[in-house]
Subunit: 307 residues, 2 copies
């Protein structure tokens, strides 16, 4: 048991937000390298419609070939996705909603209440399957600080959505700064509000580093007692039209920060820094993680990625 | 009076660490844009030998043409540099030493004690000039957390060098994480040690974002009571052989963090984000600051720098 859990979301949330289609074999190589680096919780894919997200259209082909050594989860957007995931034998599932009505409607074309009602039905399906404890379910709550359409989001709204998810039966909520605007002061306010209603052990944060604040936000949440963070190897999932733009917090930046802070993660930075390079080669751009680039530079400029 | 002072070091520390020679006119345009964005303390150049740092070889040409609206300082490495600076009418001066013997020797070819003895002589020159209060002097203490040659640096060593600088008469010490390794826990330890001997108002931090921890370190120092931070527009001064490598904390990342935290800086992010673009055009690479890229992206992808 490590002091802090890292949920690697690069293969799903990262690749979903990159324009290129990554071949299944290359995804498997990437995931193998992540496991070799010590990551033990990996969100591997999404059982979303390939029409919506062609990048993850190979979920059925990928899942049975995932390497041993880690626990894999998959996003299931709806009953159809759940059916597909269960047919593949997926036991760790993630649902997705938002703290902003406007964002949820733009993103999944329904209100938050409707999303939650869908999750309840999906939880019923799991219960019908027999032993509920066979499954682990995570609920994402995106735009937990600000919505790109409706502005600031109040902590009480986020708490209310998280509480509903817990009532429905999810094991963990992952609270997301989807557009990467938050600063530690906001993280403190939200965390304190969440702790009033939800056990710290059931809360994860999913920070984006769009404006360079993600590590500072992790530091604040960690100080307050949060012990699970999502991140994406190489910062995969950035906004590729602007070179250097930050999307997901990079796993390398998270691991460097935790390591140097004396917090056990079980992940080795050097192999981790190499893991996403084949993907960035395919994407035709350099990795986004500063700790990764520093680690690769120390290994010699000739290995510094795709330059 | 703003709540936090920002010392912009892009024109000196940034350009000193870029391979290209930037023409004086372009430097002046850059500085003009920095002033227009609201920066009021700018380290404009160094009176170092042009043989050592050709990038700043135009100090005498630059200084008299600096635009109004800001206080400018210049680095003076030695008595010869001081003489040149005083001949130009420089009134805000910065000295440079390290907390690591090994680094100081590699960097300026003398031990720390010898550096400090040189500063004492330079302070005597200022006193001979008449009114000491006419001058403002800053002392840089680099490698305050770790030295690339000799490893970790103990807080007590840093405190001792800072105390000597204060005794010699500097108005402010700027404590630098030169290789960008520190995490908030280390910043907390060092800050508490510094506060035992030195007034908080005389301490600035100079963080590098080599591994993505600089904003987190600012957040920690700010929480403890430090009120002055150095930064470089666009993160100028990075390591150009590795795309995306971080050097100086980017002023845009600092300003975004402070703004969103409700702390007055007097600086406007949007014009600031534009200020370094002519320099990055010349350098032939995109800016390094995530908050800058985000600000430029919001202004439209076509303005996102040098892509």
């Amino acid at each position: 048991m490590t002091a802090v859990r890292i949920v690697e979301v690069g293969p799903r949330d990262g690749l979903q937000n990159e324009p290129a289609l990554v071949p299944t074999d290359l995804k498997l190589r990437f995931i193998r390298l992540l496991v070799d680096a010590g990551l033990t919780e990996i969100e591997a894919t999404s059982f979303v419609s390939p029409k919506w997200v062609p990048q993850l259209g190979d979920a059925e082909q990928l899942w049975p070939r995932l390497p041993g050594g880690a626990k894999y989860s998959a996003l299931v957007p709806n009953a159809r996705g759940l059916e597909r995931a269960l047919a593949c034998g997926v036991r760790r599932l993630a649902f997705f909603t938002a703290a902003s009505e406007a964002f949820n409607r733009k993103n999944v074309n329904m209100g938050i209440a409707e999303s939650l009602a869908g999750f309840e039905q999906m939880m019923s399906v799991l219960k019908e399957r027999g032993n509920r404890s066979e499954f682990w379910v995570r609920g994402y709550v995106s735009t937990a600080f600000e919505c790109p359409y409706s502005g600031r989001v109040e902590p009480k709204v986020v708490v209310s959505v998280c509480r509903r998810l817990i009532e429905i039966g999810v094991d963990e909520v992952s609270v997301g700064d989807t557009i990467g605007v938050a600063v530690p002061r906001e993280v403190r306010d939200l965390t304190r509000s969440l702790f009033e209603e939800i056990e710290p052990g059931r809360i994860a944060y999913h920070f984006h580093d769009t404006r360079g604040t993600a590590v500072a936000n992790v530091a604040e949440a960690l100080e307050l007692g949060v012990r699970c963070f999502d991140s994406s190897a190489g910062g995969l999932g950035g906004c590729p039209y602007a070179p250097g733009a930050g999307g997901n917090l990079a796993t390398e930046d998270l691991v460097y920060f935790l390591d140097r802070s004396g917090i056990e993660t079980g992940v080795s930075l050097e192999p981790l820094a190499m893991a996403s390079l084949p993907i960035f080669d395919l994407l035709g751009r350099p990795p986004q993680s500063k700790a990764q680039i520093a680690a690769l530079s120390l290994a010699g400029p000739s290995q510094a990625g795709t330059e």
